[in-house]
C-alpha cells in the first residue's frame, strides 16, 4: 500500500508540474474600480497570450502593508504590484522595485512612451522626475474643483478662479440659498478635515496657492511659515460655510452633501464625476461643473493621485511582467480602462473624441493633471501626513489656533525627519 501511495503522490506532483502553464504572473491589485480594470485586462491578456495571471486583491487600507511586507521579506509573492503614488517613495527608498529601463529596452523601447502625461511619469522616477524609472502610471487622478453651475448663474457669480472668488461665492450662496434640494440647509462649501489623508488632501491646494511649502530647499519643514498659517486660517474661514462636523468628514460625507444638493462647492477626485449623472443617487443632475483648482498668490495646483504599476525587485518573471505592464498601459488597453471609469495617464486618451464625448470633464482633467503637484516626495510621507492631518483637523475643530496647529505640526514633522536620519 505504502509504495503505491508514494508512487501515486509522485505521479500527482509530476502531473501538476506538467499542466502548469509555461509562464505565470502574480498581480497585486486594489479592490475597487482601479483594480477591477486591471483584473479585466489580465483576463484579456491571458486569453490572448496564454500567460496565466494570478490575481491577489486587497482593500485599499491593507494593500500598502501587504505589498511592503512581502517585498521586504523577499517572499516573491508578486510579479506586479499596484501602488498609490504617495507610497512610491517608500518602496523606492527600500530598494524593492525593479528598474524598468533595461526591461523596456529589451522590448525595443528606449524609455516610457512620451504620450504619458509628464506629471504622471515624473511620479514613477526616483528621485522625482529625474531618476530611474521604477513604475508606469495606470490611473491618472488629480483633484478637480466641483461647483454648482446653476447657482453660480443664478447669483451671477464668476466661475471660481481664485480662493477669494470661492469664499465670496460660498458666502453669497450660504446666505441666499437657505434650503438645499431636499429641504435641508444649504451650505456654501463642503470640505473634509478628518485627520490623516482627508484633511491634508483638502488643504494642500490651498496651502500651495497661498505660497506655502512643506519643506525648504534644505529639506527642513516650513509648514508654520506665515503663508502656511494664512492658508490654514483661510481653510477655517471656508469651513464656517461648510456643514458642521466637517472636521471628521471623509470623501463619502463630501460626496453625500454634493449629491444631496446641500453644498455648492468642493475639491474632489474625478471618480465622483459619474455619480452626479446617476439618477438613483443624484439630486443635482446636470448642475455640476468641474474645473481646475483656484489660485491665490500662486496659480492653482491640484494634488496628483495616480495609481502606478511596478515590478518587485525579486520577481522571477520580471521580463514577462514587463511585457504585460507595457501591454496594459498601452493606449488601446488604457482606453478600455478609461471606458470602465478610470482617468487615463495618456494625453492622446484625454483628447480621444469617443472618450471626451462620454466624459465632458476630460479637458479640465487634463489641464488639472498637467499642472498638478505631487505630495512631498519623502519615504516617511505616511507618518508626516498623519501628524500634519491631526493638527489640521484639530485647528478645524476649534481645538487649536492656526498658528499653534502649524507650529506643533512643524515640530512633529521635524521629529519624524530627525528620527529617520
Amino acid at each position: 500500500m505504502r509504495p503505491a501511495l508514494s508512487l501515486f503522490l509522485i505521479f500527482l506532483v509530476l502531473l501538476a508540474s506538467c499542466t502548469q502553464p509555461r509562464k505565470q504572473l502574480t498581480l497585486a491589485v486594489v479592490a475597487g474600480v482601479e483594480g477591477e480594470a486591471l483584473k479585466q485586462a489580465a483576463a484579456d491578456y491571458e486569453a490572448q497570450t496564454g500567460v496565466h495571471i494570478e490575481i491577489a486583491q486587497f482593500p485599499y487600507s491593507n494593500l500598502f502593508e501587504k505589498e511592503l511586507i512581502d517585498l521586504k521579506a523577499r517572499s516573491r509573492a508578486y510579479d506586479l504590484i499596484m501602488l498609490d503614488d504617495p507610497w512610491f517613495q517608500r518602496f523606492a527608498h527600500e530598494k524593492v522595485l525593479t528598474d524598468l529601463t533595461p526591461l523596456l529596452q529589451r522590448l525595443g523601447q528606449s524609455g516610457p512612451d512620451p504620450d504619458f502625461v509628464a506629471t504622471s511619469i515624473a511620479l514613477c522616477r526616483d528621485p522625482y522626475q529625474t531618476g530611474s524609472l521604477y513604475a508606469l502610471p495606470y490611473v491618472g487622478n488629480s483633484q478637480l474643483f466641483f461647483y454648482r453651475k446653476d447657482l453660480f448663474e443664478k447669483y451671477e457669480l464668476k466661475p471660481p478662479a481664485t480662493w477669494d472668488d470661492v469664499l465670496t461665492a460660498a458666502k453669497t450662496i450660504h446666505e441666499k440659498e437657505n434650503t438645499g434640494a431636499g429641504g435641508e440647509k444649504m451650505y456654501g462649501y463642503v470640505m473634509r478635515a478628518a485627520q490623516g489623508n482627508a484633511a491634508v488632501a483638502d488643504f494642500m491646494p490651498i496651502f500651495w496657492a497661498f505660497g506655502g511649502e512643506m519643506f525648504d530647499a534644505s529639506g527642513k519643514p516650513t509648514v508654520n511659515s506665515p503663508e502656511g498659517i494664512a492658508a490654514l486660517q483661510f481653510m477655517i474661514d471656508l469651513g464656517k460655510l461648510s456643514p458642521p462636523g466637517y472636521a471628521s468628514f471623509n470623501a463619502d460625507d463630501v460626496g453625500a452633501h454634493l449629491l444631496q444638493g446641500t453644498a455648492a462647492m468642493s475639491i474632489n477626485w474625478p471618480a465622483w464625476i459619474s455619480s452626479f449623472s446617476d439618477q438613483s443617487k443624484s439630486k443635482v443632475i446636470g448642475k455640476m461643473e468641474f474645473t481646475t483648482l483656484p489660485g491665490a498668490q500662486k496659480s492653482g495646483q491640484a494634488e496628483i493621485g495616480n495609481w502606478l504599476i511596478a515590478i518587485p525587485r525579486d520577481s522571477t518573471n520580471a521580463q514577462a511582467a514587463a511585457e504585460f505592464l507595457v501591454w496594459a498601459t498601452s493606449a488601446a488597453q488604457m482606453k478600455r480602462s478609461a471606458q470602465r471609469g478610470n482617468p487615463p495617464t495618456r494625453k492622446s486618451l484625454f483628447q480621444d473624441a469617443e472618450l471626451v464625448a462620454k466624459n465632458p470633464a476630460y479637458p479640465a482633467q487634463l489641464r488639472s493633471l498637467e499642472s498638478s503637484r505631487p505630495r512631498p516626495r519623502t519615504p516617511y510621507w505616511n507618518e508626516i501626513e498623519n501628524a500634519f492631518g491631526i493638527f489640521l483637523s484639530k485647528a478645524n475643530s476649534g481645538e487649536l489656533t492656526p498658528a499653534d496647529a502649524m507650529n506643533q505640526a512643524n515640530a512633529e514633522i521635524e521629529k519624524i525627519l530627525q528620527r529617520a536620519q
Binding site: 500598502f64 502593508e65 511592503l68 517608500r90 435641508e184 478635515a193 478628518a194 485627520q195 490623516g196 456643514p243 458642521p244 462636523g245 466637517y246 472636521a247 471628521s248 468628514f249 460625507d253 453625500a256 452633501h257 444631496q260 446641500t262 516617511y380 505616511n382 507618518e383 498623519n386 501628524a387 491631526i390 493638527f391 483637523s393 484639530k394 478645524n396 475643530s397 476649534g398 481645538e399 487649536l400 512633529e412 528620527r419 529617520a420 536620519q421
Partner: protein, 297 residues
C-alpha cells in the same frame, strides 16, 4: 533524594515517551505561534531602524517618554476604560438586580438585552456611525423632530463630544455582558442568607449591602477583570466610528500601535508600545486576581 534520578530511569523513560509524544504537537504549535513571535517581537522592539542601518538598544522605549502622541493616547485609553467600565458596571448591576426579580416579561427583557452583545463590533460601529452623523443621522433627526437645535451636536466630529460618543457606543454594546455575568452570579446565591436577613429584620438596603454584594463579589471582580482587559485594548469600534479623530481626540493606544506598525512601518516602535500596554494590563489584572483570590471561600 534520588527522586529526580528515579524519574529518568529506564522504565520511566518509556512511560514518559508516550505523554511526550502526545504533547509534542501542542508544544510545536505553541512554539511556532506564541513563543517564537513573542521572542521575535522582543528583539524587534530593541531595534531601531535608521536611514543607514539598524541599531540595538532601548531607544524605542525612551522615545515613548517624549512622544506626545503616545502619552495622549495613553491618557485617552485610561479615560475610555475608566468611564466605560463605571457606566457598564452600574448599569449592568442595576439591570441584573431588576431582572432577577419576578417581573412580567422578564424573559423577553433578558433576551432582548443580549442583542447588542451578539452583534459584531464592526457592524455596531458602522450602525452608530450612521446614527451619529450630524447631518443625516437618526439621532440628530429625532432631536430635530422635538424642536431641538442640533447645529452644535456634531457627536463624533466634535472634539468635546467624540470621546463621550465612542464611550456611549461601548456602554451600549457591553453593558449586556456585565448584566449577564452578574445575573448568573445573583442566581447562584442561595436563598438561606436572605431568609436569615429577613428574620433579623434587615432593610432592603442592608440586605443588598451585607448579603447580596459580598456574595456577588467574585462575579463582580471577574466581570470587571474581563472588561478592563477588553477596554484597554479597544480598537475596532473606535477605528470605525472616528478613526481616532477628530484630530487626536479619540486615539487610543491600540489605534496608535496599529498606525505605527502598518502605516508607518515602524514595527520596532509598535512592538515597544505593545509591551508597555501588555505590562499595564498585566499589573491591573494582577490586582484583580489578587482580590479574587483573597476571597474567603
Amino acid at each position: 533524594m534520588p527522586k529526580s534520578r528515579r524519574f529518568f530511569n529506564a522504565r520511566n523513560k518509556r512511560e514518559l515517551l508516550l505523554p511526550a509524544l502526545f504533547l509534542a504537537p501542542a508544544m510545536a504549535v505553541l512554539l511556532a505561534l506564541s513563543i517564537y513571535p513573542l521572542i521575535y517581537s522582543i528583539t524587534i522592539s530593541l531595534q531601531q531602524q535608521t536611514a543607514a542601518d539598524v541599531s540595538w538598544g532601548l531607544g524605542n522605549f525612551t522615545r515613548l517618554l517624549s512622544d506626545n502622541f503616545f502619552l495622549t493616547a495613553l491618557v485617552h485609553t485610561f479615560v475610555y476604560a475608566v468611564v466605560a467600565l463605571t457606566c457598564e458596571f452600574l448599569l449592568g448591576l442595576g439591570l441584573a438586580l431588576l431582572l432577577n426579580e419576578q417581573i412580567r416579561g422578564r424573559g423577553i427583557f433578558r433576551a432582548s438585552l443580549l442583542i447588542p452583545m451578539m452583534l459584531p463590533t464592526v457592524v455596531v460601529g458602522v450602525v452608530w456611525r450612521l446614527m451619529l452623523n450630524s447631518n443625516f443621522g437618526a439621532i440628530n433627526g429625532t432631536l430635530k423632530e422635538f424642536g431641538l437645535n442640533t447645529e452644535s451636536l456634531t457627536w463624533t466630529a466634535s472634539p468635546k463630544l467624540a470621546m463621550l460618543s465612542v464611550i456611549a457606543v461601548d456602554v451600549w454594546q457591553w453593558t449586556p455582558f456585565v448584566f449577564l455575568v452578574l445575573l448568573a452570579g445573583l442566581q447562584a446565591i442561595p436563598q438561606e442568607p436572605y431568609e436569615a436577613a429577613l428574620i433579623d429584620g434587615s432593610s432592603r438596603w442592608q440586605t443588598f449591602r451585607h448579603v447580596t454584594l459580598p456574595l456577588l463579589k467574585p462575579s463582580i471582580l471577574i466581570v470587571l477583570l474581563l472588561r478592563t482587559m477588553d477596554l484597554l485594548r479597544v480598537f475596532d469600534q473606535i477605528f470605525i466610528l472616528t478613526e481616532g479623530g477628530p484630530g487626536f481626540a479619540t486615539e487610543t493606544i491600540s489605534l496608535y500601535i496599529y498606525r505605527t506598525a502598518f502605516r508607518f512601518f515602524d514595527f520596532g516602535y509598535a512592538a515597544a508600545m505593545s509591551f508597555v500596554l501588555l505590562a499595564l494590563t498585566n499589573v491591573i489584572s494582577a490586582v484583580y486576581i489578587r482580590l479574587i483570590q483573597s476571597e474567603p471561600n
